[in-house]
Symmetry: C2
Subunit: 234 residues, 2 copies
DNA sequence: TACCTTGTTGAACCGTGGTTCAACCCGCCG
DNA sequence: CGGCGGGTTGAACCACGGTTCAACAAGGTA
């Protein structure tokens, strides 16, 4: 196994540390909810003290915003990937659903439900909401295209999307790794069920051919040496 | 309009008061979440002081358990009602979905998502979980019957139910009275979408004929003079 | 070696929120 | 009228959790 390169610069080490904290926080939030999770607890899970967390994040809320933003970015990457696939609308939707379930339950361990913003305020909230809205717009785009093409039955776009998102997001409440079904199996099942619910009469179901990649898997991206993350702004 | 009879006994007044608190608490929890809602806030909404709340409930958790229990009871009443209807499985499922959406978003204003128990412990949690499991069993019963009868496509019962419940429960996050769609419209749309997703091939969709009643509407039941509610146990 | 930067700690601060409880009020009854 | 029960209040208690910060350590550089 190839070892990841050792962090070289201060900024890199900073980012690596933040990601470690992100993982610990996400897991804890997932397990116990944002409010029931304390900074001391997250710090312990990340192998540091609570005071140290403030070197990396301005506060608890900033940490939450960071976690949510990360999730939202991955969902948007997923949506972009789906957009590039040469698929019919129902197959696209299928892929998106599978991919979304994977992001929440496998890609970023401990992802929060999509995308609870009740505990966020100000700039952090705006950013997360903007990313979330972009993703939902992509979803509605797929739905709309499918309806226009006669593949999907005509129905209220917003409500249709909300039903789909609800089913997927609720997986956060009950899905546990190592359970009866893997995240991918859940994703496939959900996609099957939800896409069928939208098919136009006499239309045969089309599924994506290949496997949907997991956005958010470890060893993700190379960050530039950026130390200007506004969530750290004081 | 006929005025409800004035409460006569101590027990009745006690219960009436508890229901008032229930409404205030549910709304607040719905709006801001359990953790972000304080006892002082609930008390104010109910027209009393925080200290007074403890005359009616042992504590914050007991109040939450009471709210959740009330929701669960209504869902079980809905399920029982659906069971009595002379309907085919898909129509039953349709009715259940509509009814569930109504319970959450209209019957008991401010109902919490179904049925968050993370914040509950001990006896209170057990009771809520038991009621919840009973409802989910009823749902899976309808699904199973439909599959056995060849009305619904064969699929994993548990995952199928979870997708449905997810979609419905998530309405709590976004549904607001006075919005574009009424709770009933949302319920009908969701039922249409979710039931279609399960129909067996070549099977025509069957819908319930009448209107699904709202379990949880005001002027509900006459309570016996019971003062033994364990959620008040000290 | 001295200084600066980065990173970490542990103790302390302090606001918040759940909870308690003595005191008070009101109505009813003997 | 006095006593009792039910209901309510407001002040106080106290634990908890977010946050701060002085002190310290380590590494690098002039």
């Amino acid at each position: 196994m190839v070892q990841p390169a050792a962090p070289e610069s201060t900024a890199e080490r900073f980012d690596v540390r933040r990601r470690e904290i992100l993982l610990s926080a996400s897991r804890a939030y997932r397990e116990r909810g944002f409010h029931a999770t304390g900074m001391r607890e997250i710090a312990q899970a990340a192998g540091m003290t609570a005071g140290n967390l403030y070197h990396y994040f301005a506060g608890k809320e900033a940490l939450l915003a960071f976690c949510q933003e990360e999730s939202a970015r991955r969902l948007n990457e997923l949506a972009a990937w789906v957009e590039e696939q040469p698929l019919r609308a129902d197959a696209r939707l299928h892929a998106l659903i599978v991919g979304h379930v994977l992001v929440l339950n496998e890609g970023l361990p401990g992802s929060l439900a999509h995308l609870e913003v009740e505990s966020l305020e100000g700039e952090g909230r705006r950013r997360v909401v903007a990313l979330r809205d972009r993703y939902e717009e992509a979803l509605r785009g797929i739905l709309g295209d499918g309806m226009d093409a006669g593949v999907l039955r005509r129905a209220d776009l917003k409500l249709t999307a909300l039903a789909i998102l609800g089913a997927i997001n609720w997986t956060v409440k009950w899905f546990r790794p190592g359970g009866k079904s893997s995240a991918r199996e859940v994703g496939e099942h959900f996609a099957e069920q939800l896409v069928r619910g939208l098919l136009a009469p006499e239309m045969e179901l089309a599924r994506p051919a290949g496997e949907v990649p997991i956005f958010g898997a470890t060893a993700r991206r190379e960050h530039g040496a950026t130390h200007t993350d506004p969530s750290r702004t004081r």
